[in-house]
């Protein structure tokens, strides 16, 4: 583990990513103290104000301060991201270990289901789920989380299958260890590193997906400050006030980039064989 950390630390891009993630987390935590204005405060005489001394990043269609809304938007992005990653990982680990460890008809049935879900183009599946649940922050979280379950299930099942055949698992079982103890003590700890890498990269995709759903009007609903929703409202005034749509999008990109950088760095650090790979 210390090896992995020292490898991670030497990767400059990964360290930049980690710093950005920390800044994001602090921004979300300290939003009420950092934001210069109330994110919902409207000032119709100053609508679409250009970036300037009063509004550093300008104001939107309703004269709301874009900087304050971007700061508060980090809360939505991180909260939806973390919760949906949790749903995807917990669901995927439960289904994946069940399929990989028991095998037989349960495995066959689960994996057919997973294949069908993975056959959906990614955004379409999330759209279908959110169409079923209805829009809103909570339902968006559920949709993004459920969307992630099949992929995690497949990864976990693959690792469990491979680990089940290893000699030390065979030895533990030969010594009479109960199946659940083998699973908990010898198999699950070994899939954690791969899962951490996947969860970090999934976090990046979850933020993108929440933004995309909110942009389409199917995700987080107004007046909540969500970055995707802000881009969507800015789209209507794109040709007269381009900053209203483009500034919040920049926030999405920075957040996603941060998690992608950390995920890449973690993968290289935890699995040195993949170094210099994709």
């Amino acid at each position: 583990m210390t090896d992995a950390w020292s490898r991670f630390r030497r990767n400059r891009l990964a360290v930049v990513g980690l710093a950005l993630v920390l800044v994001l987390a602090l921004t979300a935590g300290l939003a009420p103290w950092l934001a210069p204005y109330d994110p919902a405060r409207q000032s119709l005489v100053e609508k679409r104000a250009r970036p300037g001394a009063k509004y550093l990043l300008g104001a939107d269609e309703f004269g709301r301060d874009i900087l304050s809304r971007v700061i508060y938007g980090s809360r939505v992005a991180l909260l939806v991201g973390v919760l949906s990653v949790t749903i995807a990982v917990v669901g995927g680990v439960l289904l994946g270990t069940a399929a990989g460890f028991t095998g037989g008809w349960l495995d066959a049935g689960l994996m057919r289901g997973v294949e069908i879900l993975l056959a959906f183009p990614y955004l379409l599946l999330a759209i279908a789920i959110v169409a079923m649940l209805g829009p809103g922050a909570l339902n968006t979280t559920l949709a993004v989380g459920i969307w992630g379950v099949p992929a995690v299930t497949r990864i976990v099942r693959g690792s469990v299958l491979a680990l089940r055949e290893t000699e030390y698992v065979g030895a533990a079982r030969a010594l009479g260890a109960p199946a659940l103890a083998v699973l908990r003590r010898h198999i699950l700890p070994n899939i954690v590193p791969g899962l951490v890498v996947y969860a970090t990269l999934f976090m990046a995709n979850a933020i993108l997906l929440e933004a995309a759903l909110s942009f389409l009007g199917l995700g987080v609903q107004p007046p909540t400050a969500s970055w995707g929703l802000m881009v969507s409202t800015g789209r209507d005034v794109l040709l007269v006030a381009p900053h209203v749509a483009t500034v919040p999008g920049l926030a999405i990109m920075v957040a996603v980039l941060a998690f992608n950088l950390v995920g890449d760095g973690l993968r290289d650090a935890l699995d040195p064989r993949l170094r210099g790979g994709a």
Binding site: R112, A119, F120, P121, L123, A128, A212, G249
Partner: protein, 307 residues
């Protein structure tokens, strides 16, 4: 080869049946009801019941599922609720635009991505490689709908070179295709780089070089040909990403395709149209991946012989 094709086509049937099942179940559980939406909140109970019966919504879910699959098998996709036109006709109007957009984006992504990836792999850790790797990380991190808006601001608003949206001329296609292609360019470049790097470490490449084969010939004949298998696989998967991305791109650029039709169908609770649109997307994805599997046989004779 023929058995291979037939078997793959048969395998696609349960996938499509499953897709229809999931979509219908999804729509069945929708909170909003198409019938109430059509008749308004103040419709009489009798009118609602009559329309539900007319649309077949009063039957149990499984009966409707079997019914729908049977009709789809005969080429009947039903009538859209909002427009009261055959869904097949609505889809027929929309799919060429989406095909045009995704095909253009896929070609663009393949050309740019493979080109950049090969150049990176030939000179690993060079200045070009460094720039390409950072650029591809940015490409993967940009929300596609935002990229589209930024491109509109730069190329339509400031430079006035290209139209803001709509379809009809090659100029209309440029911005949507570039927008849709960007994340795939990044994925393909990363994948190509690592695939070519792997192949260049193989013994047969060393042998070829030892024989005195020129570096370009080694690259074209030995490295690229073998690196193409993972790249083609990725292209197939990327086509799914492109279809999902098309929903966003078409919304941003007012491109009259399936994606925009689908979003409209969701907001109108037009479940018949939504089912049809999702089915077309799923079918397209199955066909693309079948083509990918077939191309393995062409690129690698060992696969074809296993058939």
């Amino acid at each position: 080869m023929l058995t291979f094709v037939v078997r793959r086509l048969l395998l696609a049937v349960p996938v499509l049946l499953g897709v229809v099942f999931v979509v219908m179940l999804t729509i069945d559980l929708l909170p909003g009801d198409a019938v109430t939406l059509m008749l308004g909140e103040h419709a009489t109970k009798d009118a609602v019941a009559a329309l539900r019966a007319h649309l077949g919504l009063d039957k149990p879910f499984l009966v409707r599922y079997v019914d729908y699959v049977g009709r789809v098998a005969r080429g009947d996709l039903g009538r859209s609720i909002q427009q009261n036109r055959p869904v097949a006709a609505e889809l027929a109007d929309a799919w060429p635009a989406t095909l045009e957009l995704t095909a253009a984006a896929l070609l663009l992504a393949a050309a740019a991505g493979i080109g950049a990836g090969v150049l990176s792999a030939v000179r690993p850790n060079s200045a070009f490689d460094g720039v390409a790797r950072v650029a591809s990380l940015f490409g993967l991190s940009m929300p596609i709908f935002w990229t589209g808006l930024v491109l509109i601001v730069v190329f339509s608003l400031w430079l006035n070179w290209l139209p803001v949206g709509g379809a009809g001329s090659p100029a209309h296609l440029v911005l949507p295709a570039v927008t849709l292609a960007l994340p795939s360019v990044a994925m393909i470049a990363r994948m190509t780089r690592s695939a070519v790097l792997d192949v260049l470490r193989e013994d047969y490449v060393r042998t070829a070089r030892a024989k005195g084969v020129g570096e370009w010939w080694v690259l074209l004949k030995h490295a690229l040909r073998n690196a193409f298998i993972p790249i083609i696989t990725l292209l197939g998967l990327q086509s799914g990403q492109l279809m999902g991305g098309a929903v966003l791109t078409e919304t941003v650029f007012a491109w009259p395709g399936l994606g925009r039709l689908m979003v409209k169908a969701i907001f109108a609770r037009d479940y018949v149209l939504l089912q049809g649109a999702v089915l077309v997307f799923a079918l397209a994805f199955v066909v693309v991946n079948l083509l990918v599997d077939l191309s393995y046989g062409v690129l690698d004779p060992r696969v074809a012989r296993q058939g």
